[in-house]
């Protein structure tokens, strides 16, 4: 390749000039147009996280109303129609609009920082993914507010959700929301995989990748393989409802159990989309607060991969009472039990690291302790429901409700809260308050256990799930009231978090680049990171680069300082391969997401929408991919 004379390389500039230059080139103007067109992974990651937290709030409010309704027997606060919409919205929101997106997009924000690059791969796809996700979530909640909220459960079993029994457009909104969120989820998964495989800083060999990044990578692969199953099944559901196909109509040769197989083939791995990144957060927090490298790095990576594989062999344990052959079910008991082994290894390694570490018992570490205490309960009750005979008694009762809230809140929300306290200084440059952090932790710990532990007992006392009320003579009133009180305390803990965040944004202690003295690369960037993340790409020689080189990191030189450029490296050894230009800001992903969303929304009402919508979608994609004169790659 011929070199232009006007080119400026980073070697020609001092640190200050380079950083200012690159910040200008990579920066997002603080204007409305800048907001709409940005492709910066930090901008998009941050708004993705805030949106997911907003949906957490909505899903949480739905849960509060349900807990108030169940707080006393024969309560008339909400009727069955609204209650069914509420629990469907709660489950769908928490799974599809909160838990999976927030875990994926914490990775969107952090992975490039942790592996020492300047953006994710396919940044425009990233922007597109956000807008599609936002429109899908807003559509679902708008439908709910006009009394068209889905009411067949987050699992939408047919025939209840099918054309004959699912009234109006309720289940269509649910099924189409799946299309939106899975589309955005798949897009992010592809970005994460390519980013981790091809954009790591020089020297970050496979065995130097931070555990959080490994977790994000394994999750992305699982999403890639699991989400098509639910997209196919929700599309089949829409087709059954809209154009009269009979995929799930047993009277016409379809099968209602087919839905359950397809849904849970996705639905079970989905639990691990949420749990695996959470274990990554734990593996990031523990070294920072023990001053020790993670014990058993290789074992932990293999556990993540092992969990990823096993997660695809468990789905039948959601169907133990549907009357499948008993011998076949026993295999799924065995595989469901087996998945406890990699989880066990992770817990043993975490405790082993804590054992000799020099503990600094700050809020993030408190949440890690809370996580282990709660998650182990959820994991063990999981061993119980994995047993076919025990499951015949507890399946579809409050015992299961208790079990999966221990797994999802204990196993994922506690690490997430710890992660928020841990990375907030990196995101916003200010520390969260430690005192409020402790209040937050203890209220969450007490509230959560009061709310959910009694549900184990309620389930064994015969209380089924998804009932909008129960008669006083069942004797479930006391424990339900206790659970409602616990839920209120749990909500209070989130108010403390919100208060803490607002206070810190205004007047929190200034954090500095590396307030926790942690070892991974994101702490080498400024807080908050500059638009280019790293002015000079670091060279990695250790799993904890900042502990290895506490003063200054070695860096590579020779990258262009006059354009958006990233370094592409090899898959295994991360040796530099190519200098590649990274896309500019553009409005096209927003337009493409907009027309895609309108097309999908209209297709709820008429199949012709897909035909007519193809045209504007085609135009938007043409605009998106129109050659813009980017500089050639340089190897």
């Amino acid at each position: 390749m011929t070199k232009c004379a006007s080119e400026i390389r980073d070697t020609a500039l001092d640190d200050g000039a380079l950083s200012a230059r690159l910040a200008h080139i990579w920066g997002t103007p603080k204007t409305f147009w800048g907001f709409m067109t940005t492709v910066d992974h930090k901008e998009i990651g941050r708004r993705y996280i805030v949106t997911a937290l907003f949906f957490l709030l909505l899903g949480g409010l739905a849960a509060v109303v349900m807990r108030l309704q169940l707080g006393s027997p024969d309560n008339k606060l909400v009727g069955p129609d609204l209650y069914n919409q509420l629990f469907t919205m709660h489950g769908s929101t928490m799974m599809f609009l909160f838990a999976v997106p927030i875990m994926e997009t914490i990775a969107v924000y952090l992975v490039p920082l942790m592996i020492g690059t300047r953006n994710v791969a396919f940044p425009r796809l990233n922007a597109f993914s956000y807008w599609v996700y936002l429109f899908g979530g807003l559509m679902l909640w708008a439908a709910f507010f006009v009394n068209t909220g889905p009411d067949a459960g987050w699992f939408s079993y047919v025939p209840l959700a099918g054309p004959q029994y699912g009234i109006g457009k309720r289940s269509d909104f649910w099924a189409q929301m799946i299309t939106y969120t899975e589309l955005s989820g798949l897009a992010v998964a592809v970005e994460i995989i390519v980013t981790v495989f091809k954009m790591r800083a020089p020297g970050m060999t496979l065995d130097r990748i931070p555990l959080f990044v490994w977790a994000a990578l394994v999750t992305a692969f699982m999403i890639l393989f699991a989400m098509p199953a639910v997209m196919v099944s929700s599309t089949m559901l829409i087709l059954d409802r809209l154009v009269g196909t009979h995929f799930f109509n047993w009277a016409e040769g379809g099968d209602s159990l087919l839905w359950q197989h397809l849904f849970w083939f996705f639905g079970h791995p989905e639990v691990y989309f949420i749990f695996i990144p959470a274990t990554g957060i734990v593996s990031a927090i523990i070294p920072a607060f023990t001053r020790r490298r993670m014990f058993g790095y290789v074992a932990l990576v293999l556990s993540l991969i092992g969990t990823g594989f096993l997660a695809f062999g468990l789905w039948v344990h959601h169907m133990f009472v549907t009357g499948l052959p008993r011998l076949g079910e026993s295999f799924f008991t065995a595989s469901s039990m087996a998945v406890a082994i990699p989880s066990g290894i992770q817990i043993f390694c975490w405790i082993a690291t804590l054992w000799d570490g020099k503990l600094r018992l700050r809020t993030p570490l408190l949440f890690v302790f809370g996580f282990i205490v709660n998650f182990v309960i959820g994991g063990l009750s999981g061993v119980m429901v994995a047993s076919v005979p025990i499951d015949t008694q507890v399946h579809d009762t409050y015992f299961v409700v208790a079990h999966f809230h221990y797994v999802l809140i204990g196993g994922a929300v506690f690490p997430l809260l710890g992660g928020i306290y841990y990375w907030f200084p990196k995101f916003y440059g200010r520390m969260l308050n430690e005192r409020l952090g402790r209040w937050n932790f203890w209220l969450a710990m007490i509230g959560f256990n009061l709310a959910f532990f009694p549900m184990h007992i309620l389930g064994l006392m015969g209380m089924p799930r998804r009932v909008y009320t129960y008669p006083a003579e069942m004797g479930w009133g006391g424990l339900n009231l206790l659970s409602t009180v616990g839920a209120s305390i749990f909500v209070l803990s989130f108010l403390v978090l919100v208060l803490n965040i607002i206070r810190s944004l205004r007047s929190g202690e200034i954090a500095g680049d590396n307030p926790w003295d942690a070892g991974t690369l994101e702490w080498a960037a400024t807080s908050p990171p500059e638009p280019q993340n790293f002015s000079r790409i670091p060279v990695v020689t250790d799993r904890e680069p900042l502990w290895q080189n506490p003063e200054t990191l070695p860096v590579i030189g020779g990258m262009h300082a006059d354009r958006r450029e990233i370094l592409v490296s090899t898959l295994v050894e991360a040796t530099p391969e190519v200098l590649e230009s990274s896309p500019q800001a553009t409005i096209w992903p927003f337009i493409a997401a907009m027309v895609t969303s309108v097309t999908l929304l209209a297709s709820i009402f008429t199949p012709w929408a897909i035909v007519w919508g193809a045209l504007p979608v085609g135009i938007a994609l043409t605009g998106w991919f129109w050659p813009g004169g980017e500089k050639e790659d340089e190897s």
Binding site: L160, R292, F295, G323, T333, M337, P464, R465
Partner: protein, 339 residues
């Protein structure tokens, strides 16, 4: 022949007056059959193992917080090699122990499943069909004159295995009487089978366990496990046609029922009413509850239910049939006479 009903009502009444006494009538932890006892035993064994594991993990965390450390070095980094080696051995052993425990639990589940699903000789077959939101019960016999239909209250002889064929008419439901047996789904287009055996006489409550729409919460059933002689008397009575009304008000009620809207959905043996979409009401007055356990079966409650079904059970498929209060009184009198 009113003995059966009186007994049901008395059992139900004692339950509501003494909450404590009946808090276990829909409980997995108060087994009244061999199967349920087996399941409860397995459950407690698993619980004990899990509790021990949890206590050990929490104890380890407490020790982490309390122990004095030999390496108080401020510099971050690795453990010393001897610590690494010791930890590798401990983590490896714990993983092996985990695998062994899980293997044992898997085998126990497997054998428990075999134990409770072994085919037994049965004396009686009842087809239970899940409907939104009630249970249709058909006592089947090769001799059609010995077959009969009823709803929501399953009578079985104590100590004898009863085959329950599970089907669904509309959406998926799930049959669950926890004191007697674990649940099994009822899926449209499929047939599942359970073998039920109660070892003690008693009244057990069951409830639909698979979300089935608006009134999933009010889809309960009662199982009356009776001594074989009492069961046989009940069965014989069910085969008889409905009692012919004598009092004029009841005759008026019968005419309203048979010639009005009721008969399009409900059947009463011995009359022209043979609707099949709603519960069979031939011996309605013997039942303890109305609308699948929603209301106690009393004349006042029945009148309330007939006057506005949606107010009692929002979403129910039972329509509100307009009629004068006098007609409703007559209808109630007729139905409450169907002993």
């Amino acid at each position: 022949m009113t003995a059966g009903r009186i007994r049901s009502v008395v059992q139900l009444a004692t339950c509501s007056s003494a909450l404590q006494a009946c808090s276990g009538w829909q409980s997995a932890l108060d087994p009244h059959s061999q199967t349920a006892a087996h399941l409860a035993g397995l459950f407690w064994f698993f619980t004990a193992i899990c509790a021990i594991v949890w206590v050990l993990v929490v104890a380890a965390l407490i020790m982490v917080l309390r122990r004095r450390r030999e390496s108080e070095s401020v510099l971050p980094g690795d453990d010393f090699p001897h610590q690494q080696r010791r930890k590798a051995i401990i983590v490896g052993s714990l993983t092996a122990i985990t695998a062994i425990i899980l293997t044992v639990l898997t085998y126990m589940s497997f054998y428990a499943t075999r134990e409770i699903t072994w085919p037994r000789k049965h004396v009686l077959t009842v087809k239970v069909t899940g409907q939104q939101w009630w249970w249709q019960l058909d006592y089947q016999n090769q001799d059609p004159s010995q077959s009969f239909g009823t709803a929501n209250e399953l009578h079985i002889p104590v100590g004898q295995p009863v085959t329950v064929d599970l089907e669904a008419a509309d959406v998926i439901h799930s049959f669950w009487v926890p004191n007697l047996i674990g649940k099994q789904d009822m899926i449209p287009g499929r047939k599942n089978v359970l073998t039920l055996r109660a070892d003690k006489p008693g009244l057990y409550r069951g409830q639909c366990a698979e979300f089935c729409g608006l009134q999933h919460a009010h889809m309960s059933m009662f199982v009356f496990a009776e001594p074989p002689a009492a069961f046989e008397a009940w069965r014989r009575h069910q085969l008889e046609p409905a009692a012919t009304p004598g009092a004029p008000q009841r005759i008026t009620g019968m005419n309203i029922f048979v010639h009005g809207a009721c008969a399009t959905c409900h059947a009463v043996g011995g009359t022209d009413a043979d609707g099949q979409t709603g519960p069979n009401l031939t011996h309605f007055a013997q039942r303890a509850t109305i609308a699948a356990g929603t209301l106690r079966n009393t004349p006042a409650n029945l009148s309330r239910w007939l006057a506005d079904p949606q107010a009692v059970k929002p979403g129910t498929n039972m329509p509100q049939v307009p009629m004068s209060p006098a007609d409703r009184q007559a209808l109630v009198a007729y139905l409450e006479g169907l002993k």
